[in-house]
Symmetry: C2
Subunit: 649 residues, 2 copies
């Protein structure tokens, strides 16, 4: 296999010397030659065409025709996966190990199946303009995390971010629906999120009450046109959102851009890995320094500062903003933040399940930095003279390390974007190696993946109960792994068995672009409800007798119930020009008996699950007969389940 030697950092044979850091010049040269690093690597992988490891399914066949890796029809998965949907703007629910996509929960973007963005209830959550239309119809979800109790998921909530419009959504994990969305002020390009795991002060609060959010893009404050030409005045903020009210509690003004977010198991620290500490606004400028930072937030001190009134506000926002810049936090006795220096443009910060470390992966450096949290606290307590001394290991892993997962047995698994590999490494051995024990073999195993992996996660990895069973790897390019379907390729989520010493790849699953992060946890941690209660909905039409047309001037409310195979009433009349609100309650009580409600030419379609109520409001501006019909298969007479809306001229 031939290589242009300007491209030698992509060689299949690792060269530890070359790999130390990718320097700016080499990188710029690549870009200048019109080569893309990721893709050159892709071509290599294709040429190398590593043979997939054989699946052990035939060996470990289980009852009912299934196997450890392939469920028989009717067999249930043992793990839930919550996946971000990328610029689909949704949260996806997968079953593992099958990789089945069981649900998509619309959050930031309308969903025509559910009627998300069509019903009044969903529009109230999504947010509207003064004219009643949706404020946003695009989104870009990256990270999804669940609420914690005692270091494990407690099945109450999940949160997910929208990078485009700086929003955070909360998902109720009983009904698997989004119930709140908050748009965060003063920031742009909100990327990483993480819930806290307990309160930093009150030991009784052993569960999530805050969600932290890191903003990537630095902007003028306020962003109203002033200082647009003054990039040195641009700033990013780190944000705390209240887990229950979903109100923004406080923000921290920082140096550099935030990327991912992590929280400690003791509740005391949150962190974001940072790129562009330089404040550059082209990629060359963003990677000019050899080191960026992993930035730590002392939650208790920040909240005390807010309490003490030591904050500013910007523009129309009332959110208190404390000063977390490097210059203002040099004194550990009063510092709200600690900047731990790590190699340039790191990508990914992950908390180890033993509660001891945050791992910061290097991206443009082939290394991972292991930061000991006790030492960061030591710095805040005046017991350590330099926050950089909290780094207990900085070891080479391979090219383009991005994210790290854990198996609960002391091993970490890091994606290597450029090498298209997952590397399994032992954290204790890495610390020993860093401390000079060159005999410490910290790399345990390597697995080729297809291709260019971004996030990865292991079962229960982000809890104190990491169980080391399954690893999912989100490969950004699928290239030749699936039948061709035109220019837009699916992404490739690969599933790996990590229960043994060696990693074992056993399945490719295509996903619609583009999931980023995800979490995987045991199915016992959730107890979803499958039928609503009528009382959950203030507008519920609890009996068909309550149905009918109720007029108040030109405002008309039509109350309808559904019971297969009919709506009640089965016809109604309104007048041209009326403002019509239809309230529909599904009186069917049986699990899985969902009805749809579609009105031709009026741009209305939504579903009502068993015992659910939803409503829509529209102007009856087109006279004629409009057959509303059930759009969700329900019954042998589903096709006949329709009625007439007559709009009188």
């Amino acid at each position: 296999m031939k290589h242009d030697h300007t491209n030698n950092m992509l060689d299949a044979q690792p060269d530890p010397g070359r790999r130390k850091f990718l320097n700016t010049a080499a990188f710029a040269g690549l870009a200048g030659a019109g080569l893309s690093v990721g893709l050159s690597a892709c071509k290599q992988e294709q040429a190398a065409a590593p043979a997939p490891a054989p699946a052990a399914g035939s060996v470990t066949a289980a009852k009912a025709g299934g196997s450890k890796y392939h469920l028989a029809p009717g067999e249930l998965d043992t793990y839930y996966g919550l996946w971000s949907g990328g610029h689909n703007g949704d949260l996806r629910v997968l079953g593992l190990p099958s990789g089945r996509e069981l649900h998509r929960i619309p959050c930031f973007v309308p969903d025509a199946l559910v009627g998300w963005g069509i019903t009044n209830e969903s529009k109230a959550i999504m947010g509207t303009k003064p004219d009643g239309s949706l404020k946003y119809t695009v989104g870009d979800t990256h990270h999804v995390h669940g609420s914690y109790k005692d270091g494990n998921y407690d099945g109450r909530y999940a949160w997910i971010n929208d990078k485009i419009n700086s929003r955070i959504a909360r998902i109720r994990l009983d009904y698997f629906v989004c119930d709140k969305i908050t748009e965060i002020p003063n920031i742009q390009g909100f990327h990483g999120i993480f819930p806290d795991k307990r309160d930093p002060v009150d030991p009784a609060i052993n569960y999530t009450t805050r969600v932290f959010a890191g903003a990537e893009f630095h902007i003028p404050l306020p962003n109203d046109g002033r200082d647009a030409d003054n990039p040195e005045k641009y700033r990013s903020l780190f944000t705390c959102v209240d887990a229950e009210t979903m109100a923004v509690r406080w923000q921290v003004l920082i140096d550099g851009n935030c990327d991912l977010t992590a929280t400690s198991y003791d509740g005391k620290l949150a962190a974001t890995n940072q790129y562009n500490i330089e404040g550059g606004y082209h990629y060359e400028g963003m990677m000019s320094s050899e080191r960026d930072a992993c930035l730590f937030f002392n939650i208790a001190r920040i909240e005390q500062a807010v309490k003490d009134g030591k904050f500013a506000t910007y523009g129309d926002s009332k959110v208190p903003v404390v000063d977390g810049t490097r210059a203002a936090n040099a004194d550990p006795a009063t510092a709200l933040t600690a900047y731990v220096s790590v190699p340039k443009n790191p990508h990914g910060v992950n908390a180890s399940p033993d509660g001891k470390y945050f791992i910061c992966a290097g991206k443009l450096s082939p290394t991972a930095s292991v930061i000991e949290l006790a030492k960061v606290l030591d710095w805040f307590d005046g017991k350590l003279d330099d926050p950089d001394k909290a780094i207990v290991a900085e070891v080479e892993l391979g090219l383009g390390p991005l994210h790290t997962a854990f198996d609960g047995r002391g091993n970490a698994y890091t994606t290597l974007f450029l090498d298209s590999q997952v590397v399994k490494w032992n954290v204790d051995a890495a610390i020993k190696f860093h401390n000079g024990d060159t005999s410490a073999q910290y790399v345990v195993d390597r697995l080729d993946v297809q291709y260019q992996p971004g996030h990865l996660n292991a079962s229960q990895s982000e809890t104190a109960f990491a169980d080391g069973q399954w690893l999912s790897v989100g490969c950004k390019f699928s290239k030749d792994r699936y039948l061709p379907v035109g220019p837009l390729h699916p992404e490739n989520e690969q599933l790996v068995d990590i229960s043994g010493d060696k990693m074992h790849l056993f399945a490719d699953h295509p996903v619609r672009p583009e999931p980023h992060d995800f979490i995987i946890f045991k199915r016992e941690l959730l107890q979803p409800k499958q039928v609503y209660s009528l009382d959950d909905f203030p507008l519920a039409v609890k009996d068909p007798k309550e149905g009918g047309v109720f007029r108040n001037g030109n405002k008309v409310t039509v109350k309808i119930t559904s019971q297969a195979p009919a709506f009640d009433p089965r016809e109604f009349k309104v007048k041209r020009g009326d403002e019509v609100t239809i309230i529909l309650t599904n009186l069917d009580k049986i699990e899985d008996l969902t009805h749809g409600f579609a009105v031709p030419k009026y741009n209305i379609n939504f579903i009502v699950n068993p015992q659910e109520t939803a409503s829509v409001t529209f102007k009856a501006d087109k006279p004629g007969v409009y057959w509303y019909y059930c759009s969700h298969f329900c019954h042998a007479l589903h096709l006949e389940m329709r009625g007439r809306m007559i709009v009188e001229a």
Copy 2:
């Protein structure tokens, strides 16, 4: 298991006597008792809990760790499946036998990933209101079919319907994108579609040039408020759309409501099965007659009538409408249509791959009717005195027969909605049995499915090259088959091996509600392209040097190119109040190197695949700095791939 005996038609033990027809009284009684037929059956199935057949994967393990049923990582599927997406409004591409969802092609409904409904190009296809906003954002796709040549798919196009707004979309199967959408006038609830397979007159036209569309809901003509209270004046139409121009060629006024559509292999006949020949407008009325019809259209005669000016038009529509009502077509010598009587409320009409028969399934009757096409043509030719004599078999299959697929070996496979079964039956044996040979065993096999199957289809079933390998069954209820995910359940697409004498269920695949119909064909029939040509796009910015800001008064065009890891230009300025059009060309040429383009707070996100150009137009109404960024992972410096739009106050 106990049953209420008013509910006895749902007994697990078939009783041929009871099953003859479901009579109206029994059905109404059920509804009155608040029981839903489909769901009572569901409960039975759950109680019965049929054990799934064991998968043969462990027996027939193939190279690379895969099996006949489970692909090893990196193994490619052998069949494409095109699936309708139901009220998601999309067309989905699956690989089979893996069941992997490889792509979703947005058609009628916006798609935030692609930017469908965001870009100017997609909005032009979808249709807009005078204010530039989308005319519709909901859809309800049911049926998808491909273009034919010589009785097989030719890989040019697929078509898909939108029931809510009576639209038909065309998908280019080279790039897997929707390129045209037509809203059909004069109809509501457009349901079944089917392309013709050759021209009825010109033997040189051995490929698809027409697509037929059946409208379900009968409405006043024109539907402008007149005759709204006059249901006997309501009518449905059958429509012909030109496959190339996508213009509506002609329509046929009919009695009854259309349901599914089928076309003959010789190009001479199209048909729709009909329910509600009664013209009822509640479900009881729609099922009061014991028989409805399978309605045949004589394409050559209809087109001659249009040519001869024997048509009407309605309202603003210029589309010629010929009279296909029963009363006007009693004389076979001049008839445009033939009404073949079949048991009440049939659901599904499917053409057998030998070209001889249409099978019409009974839904409310436990039977399927086999109609011989040569005999229908005989009636039009005056050689048969009664079109009902074209029925060569009407045999009992089980409760709730809906749709039929074929294996090319003389067997038909019909879904039984109420029985939750697929029945395999032999067509020749059924004809013999119907002709009095009671020894003819036409039922070959039965397979329990989970639960309530609607459509099914077999590999190549709707071509002259049905190959009898795989059968997919679209089960409407999944109930207990997957981990619970709240009230909205996935549907259950079950995959069955039909290559042997017995059907063998080997996989459940959850799908987001709700696919209806689908087609499955050999992968060799498609040759998708994975990189666009710059010349495909009139607005293409072919060189970064052509980029920049071009002002014409307050209309500003910004031409941008993308090449990983940067946009060019990397910043631009506009003034508050400008109407800005951004044209973006992706100059990256490498397969799978897609970029996204997101602008915070301006509701803009779309992708550009390799060598693709797309544009958006918006008003720059918010001053400040807006970082546009690549929202589709592309490169190691993807996160740094961003630039500034500065809107000057």
